[in-house]
Symmetry: C2
Amino acid sequence: MSDTQSDAGPRRPVTLDDVARHAGVSQPTASRVLNGSDRKVAESYRKRVTDAARELGYTPNLAAQVIARGSSRTVALIISGISDPYFSAMAAAIMRQAEASDLRVSIAVTDRRVDRELDLVRELRGQQPQAIILAGTGYVDPPSGDQLVAELHRFEETGGRVVLISRSDLPFETVAFDNHEGARQLAAELATLGYRRTLVLGSATPLLSMQQRVEGFVAGMAESGADGIDTVVRHPEFSWEGARDHILGMDDDELQRLQLVFAITDDMALGAIAGLRARGRRIPDDIAVAGFDDITTLRDVVPPLTTVHVALDAVAKEAIKRALTPDGHVSTVPAYPIIRASTPAVSTRQVVG
Amino acid sequence: MSDTQSDAGPRRPVTLDDVARHAGVSQPTASRVLNGSDRKVAESYRKRVTDAARELGYTPNLAAQVIARGSSRTVALIISGISDPYFSAMAAAIMRQAEASDLRVSIAVTDRRVDRELDLVRELRGQQPQAIILAGTGYVDPPSGDQLVAELHRFEETGGRVVLISRSDLPFETVAFDNHEGARQLAAELATLGYRRTLVLGSATPLLSMQQRVEGFVAGMAESGADGIDTVVRHPEFSWEGARDHILGMDDDELQRLQLVFAITDDMALGAIAGLRARGRRIPDDIAVAGFDDITTLRDVVPPLTTVHVALDAVAKEAIKRALTPDGHVSTVPAYPIIRASTPAVSTRQVVG
DNA sequence: TTGTACGCGTTATCAT
DNA sequence: ATGATAACGCGTACAA
């Protein structure tokens, strides 16, 4: 009461105690009115407290609540990046779903650095989140896998939940989309369209879900039973640039005889297109291209890119559900191919060069 | 020591106390070793503590640290969305810079709902962050502006910092990029290229920075002094769809005589292109298009889109710097036009229709 | 250098 | 229904 509104240096934030005193009630009562769930407070008191809170501009100190309660209505999301259209869509979907369940999301980014993942889990564990969601990268042969598992187990032991998205490499609840099956179906459809000689652009970084896409595609092509199936798999750097550079560095003859490039992500497919164009190939007239993910960016790409669609909203919804209440073990969200103009039927296509 | 590793239900997380006891030292000593900055602890003790911590899998309870310290090495970022390529790039840049300063970033999304902004500030204030960074939307005539300002002031009074990005509508530290000047220069260059009859797609939502882009562009065109300058400004919904739909709904005659569409964001420019193509116009043969932001997506767009580039990294760096130590009041990061193939010189262009 | 004691803002337990 | 009082996990004077 003694300090004026003037700029008297950083003041202490308004606490529940201040509110209680201002309202002439005890601190627990104020707590019950403002934050507690059981509302057994007389109307007259209730009003005085809410008024005081508004007047003083009270905001509950979240940290204090977490400490006192022991839980935190927060989920921690560990994701490889956020500028990438795919991951940002994933993050957005998760935040949307989380908000619907009145959950805060704290995002941590690994930037594809393997060891960061372990550090982040350790750090996030300190936030006492309801759950830790690991989305994105999942290495085929996790370098610090044991430690990561140990850390996550500790988190589970203290009541936290661990949810994996698109990576079944660790022994925790997993929400997967069917990378293998999606790629397999895509290959099947493309084979039907007449494609035979394909370059598959995989990932130099050994990511499990990406490997599944490669394998699914190769299997789909093989299963088609068509004659002359010829699928070459390469593993450039896992990025737009990596795909483009690989195309740029290709042998001219090899490029010439190719009918189709399938990249394991749309991002790489777009990089491949950039490379192909730089080498004077027209799409789809000279060569067809297909990707995976069905990112939003595709709406602005010409020609429309054939890809595999993943229902990110469904994934996010399931992930948040799992984060709140444990379910079975692995659930799979379907992924299905969408054929667009970048892969027309081969028969109707001019044979060039 | 008495409990086994077995699944005996959710255990209590390991606390500093546990570590201290396990190491046979006092709790403050453990604190000094693991978290404190002054390292006046005997080497023998130090080792015992770190060993115990590792063995037990100790992680500091962040909430408790925040409470005890009163500060939090966290900045809160309030942003309109995260799936949008522009905002996700902004968020990514800020996270990158923050990490370099050993700061956590907690992201909150408004989804363009006006009132959310106020709610979020209130809520985030409870996290006791070092700073609150408001990026993105800034309304010309803020609906709940006074309350927002009051809330932010309270935050500042308690030692927090407020940093605005690209919106000088509120009386706080601001990192702006020169929307007006960038758009003005763009218009000047386009006028030089021979463009006269332009449709400007602004925003139905009254966003200050967007208004500046419109005004800058209009001014730039007018200042060119060229004959026949004819600039029409429209305000469709502020989105890809809004821009596309506006084009789709345009009068045929009006569309016919246009030479150029300038949209205040690349996102809208791409929507406009979609609309123009749906109406059978080729770009840039029939009509030219320019945007603003220079989002990453543009690398995959054909023809390459003329736009205004903003150095987001510089913006983010400045914002984080301000978040840590107050500076002047407003600093401006330059924005400069990049002419690409979507706006060729008019003289070299076929006059169609 | 190390330990004791207390405070941070909140919720929860228990009398009243 | 309300108010003392004790946690929660950690940092930090202060004393030893």
